[in-house]
Structure formats: structure tokens, C-alpha cells
Symmetry: C2
Subunit: 216 residues, 2 copies
């Protein structure tokens, strides 16, 4: 059965592909798996029907027959386990690719989420501006070692994997902060991800949703 | 070969079992897998030998023959895939257990890390105290839905799984904040985890390290 994912009816990023459905769309495109999308308003995301699928009222979810999943890491891993192309055959390399998936959503994404909180949720507080240098330094504490580890490699560990899907999309959340540009090899890494045909198809699909709702 | 993990030589939590090696110790105890521990000083954690294993200079790592892993989620998943007892047989239930692993380290742990940052890294700043209510509310935004989803169930999804190993240990990081106690079913859930014989063995093992270094 064709899986169904959920996504924002009106994404707060105005079609920049920074919402988390992008990770799942990209993974599905890499393995050439068609999928359906159910768009949700902010109101619908907090209603019981969606909370039954996603306890925290977020997107995306993934439904396939009687399986319901949330958490993009788990969804991308599920896709990668069932279709060739996103995890290495070698058992150790496979475990390392999964390490990078967890690294993306925990070690790297946690301080990036804090930046977004500082910018938006606490934006009215003058102290948010004072904190910003501290918040940015904590992101640099992560990007520096990541940049060192990547070096001049194309992907995080050998060939392109689900670990790169997660890491590239997490790093893209830095957006216009200027932080990514301080690490040219990380910026080039993200650009390599964005240049993949599967990424482009996923990006276009989510952008089409933004365009359709913008015109309403 | 017996796997080797790394842990703090002197854990900042003074033996409360809140350092991340606890997750790996507990998982190994659940599947009755013996392991060796290499203790690291804070200086050693930032030296090239350890950075080659863990790019961010953290603990724990996991070494087994020529496999090196970091990120507790990935290590616990690796253990759970190779030994029975931490993942359901049913393929859909297995995917859902992995969802809870990612949920623990991303959705739940991210705001908890922010609380620790607000308490320690920014503790000299008077504005940290002003921010605290906002930081705590973001944790409540996660604990509330988690409490609702758990309801009066014993574990997150059917039988005890690697998802519970991760969630219980992440929730334990709330420690003396008082936040966990606002959700009695979550506090009882953590207590059930702590009552498992495997948890107790893991706890005693890390506590023995603390006692040994405390007496020096």
C-alpha cells in the first residue's frame, strides 16, 4: 500500500523545505517509493484524530497499512530498512550510518532548536538578544567537530546514506543564521545533498504545497 | 569479543546514574551481555585518541571487534538488534519501539538539555533565572502529551523495550527539578524502570566507579 505522510497545510518556512516532512519525502524519493500526503492545519494538528497518530501534535507522521510511525529518524530508518539505497550492506557500516542519524537529531539538532526558540518563542524578551551569542557558540561547539570529522569527504561515512539525509536536513535548519557558512566544508556538504535529484523532487513537492496555499 | 564502553572517570552527577553510559550499561544488563569499561578524564575525552572514536569528545562510546559506535540511541539499538529482549518480534511493534527511542533523544531530551544549560552554562547570568519558567514550560509541553499517551500503561508500547530504556534514562535527567513529579504516571513509569534488576545492576556498576574515585 502506498504510504501516507502528514505535512503542514501552510508551512511556517514559506516553502524553504525546512519542515520535517522534507526528511521523509527525500528518503522516499531516494528509494523511488511513491507516497500520499495529507495536509494539516495548525488546528487539525492539535485535534484528537492527529494526536492519536502523533502524541505531540507535530508533523510528519507515516502510515502504511496498519503501521503508524512518528519521529523522522524512525520513519527514515523504517524506509531505509525496507528499500535498498539508504543503508550500507556491510553490518558495521550500517550501524555507523544509524549512529549519524541519532547524531543528527540529538547532538546537532538540539542546539539548533534552541536557536529557533531564542529567535521566535522568546523574541519579545530583550534578554533573548543578549543570550544569542551563547546559543550560537553552543551550535559552533557541535559544527566544529562535525566539520573536522567530515574533512574533505563527500558524505559522513563512505557512500550516501540515511545518516546524510538526516544530517543535511538538520543543518538546513540553520538557514540564514550564517553559522553554516563559517564551515565551508559543511556548507558544501549540504549543497551536495541539495543537488541530489531525489532531494530536488522532494523539495519541489513541498514547494508546490506552499505555492498552492499562498495563492489562496 | 566483549564490548568496551567508555564512561566518565569522575561523573559530574556524583554517581546518580544520569550520565549517558547508564543507558548502554542498562541495555547490556537487560540482554545479559558482559562488557568492559574504559574510564576517561575530562582531559582524555578531548584528546585525539578519543576524538577518533567520538568526534564531539563525549562519552559513552562502544567498541566491539572493529566496530566503533557513538550516540546512545545507536548503541542501544545495535545491542537490541543483536540480542533478544529489547525489541519486539512483530515488525510493526519493532518500528514503533524505535520511534520511542528517537522520541526520547529528540522530542523529550532537547528541552531537558536546555534546562541543564540554563542551570549550569548560563548560571552566572541573572537572566538565566528569568528564563527558567519559559524553559520549564517547554519541558511541560513535552511531558504533558507523553503522560497522556502513557496513561496507565506499564511501558510505552506493549512490553518493555529499548524505547523504554531510552525514555526512562532521558526522564531521569530531570532529577531534582520537580517537573517529573507533576506527572505522577511518568514518575511511576521511571520508578518501574529503576526497579528492574538490570537497571539496578547497571546503576550499581556506575555507582561503584563514583565511590572508587570519591575515596581517592
Amino acid at each position: 500500500m502506498t504510504p501516507t505522510i502528514t505535512a503542514f497545510e501552510r508551512s511556517p518556512d514559506r516553502g524553504k523545505g525546512q519542515a520535517r516532512d522534507m526528511r521523509v519525502r527525500w528518503a522516499l524519493e531516494e528509494v523511488r517509493q511513491p507516497y500520499d500526503v495529507r495536509l494539516l492545519s495548525f488546528r487539525q494538528m492539535k485535534e484528537p484524530a492527529h494526536l492519536a497518530l502523533q502524541p505531540f501534535g507535530q508533523i510528519p507522521t507515516y502510515e502504511e497499512d496498519d503501521l503508524v510511525l512518528f519521529e523522522t529518524g524512525a520513519i527514515v530508518l523504517h524506509i531505509a530498512e525496507r528499500h535498498p539505497g539508504l543503508l550500507p550492506q556491510d553490518i558495521n557500516a550500517r550501524a555507523r550510518a544509524i549512529s549519524w542519524m541519532f547524531c543528527a537529531v540529538n547532538t546537532i539538532e538540539a542546539p539548533i532548536l534552541e536557536l529557533q526558540v531564542a529567535k521566535f518563542a522568546e523574541a519579545n524578551e530583550s534578554r533573548a538578544a543578549q543570550r544569542m551569542p551563547l546559543v550560537k557558540d553552543r551550535i559552533r561547539d557541535r559544527l566544529g567537530p562535525l566539520s573536522t570529522r567530515l574533512g574533505d569527504a563527500e558524505w559522513l561515512d563512505g557512500g550516501f546514506s540515511a545518516g546524510d539525509v538526516m544530517m543535511v536536513t538538520v543543518l538546513r535548519r540553520l538557514n540564514v543564521s550564517g553559522l553554516l557558512e563559517e564551515y565551508p566544508n559543511l556548507a558544501a556538504y549540504v549543497a551536495r545533498g541539495e543537488a541530489r535529484p531525489a532531494f530536488k523532487r522532494a523539495y519541489e513537492a513541498q514547494f508546490a504545497v506552499f505555492k498552492a496555499t499562498e495563492d489562496e
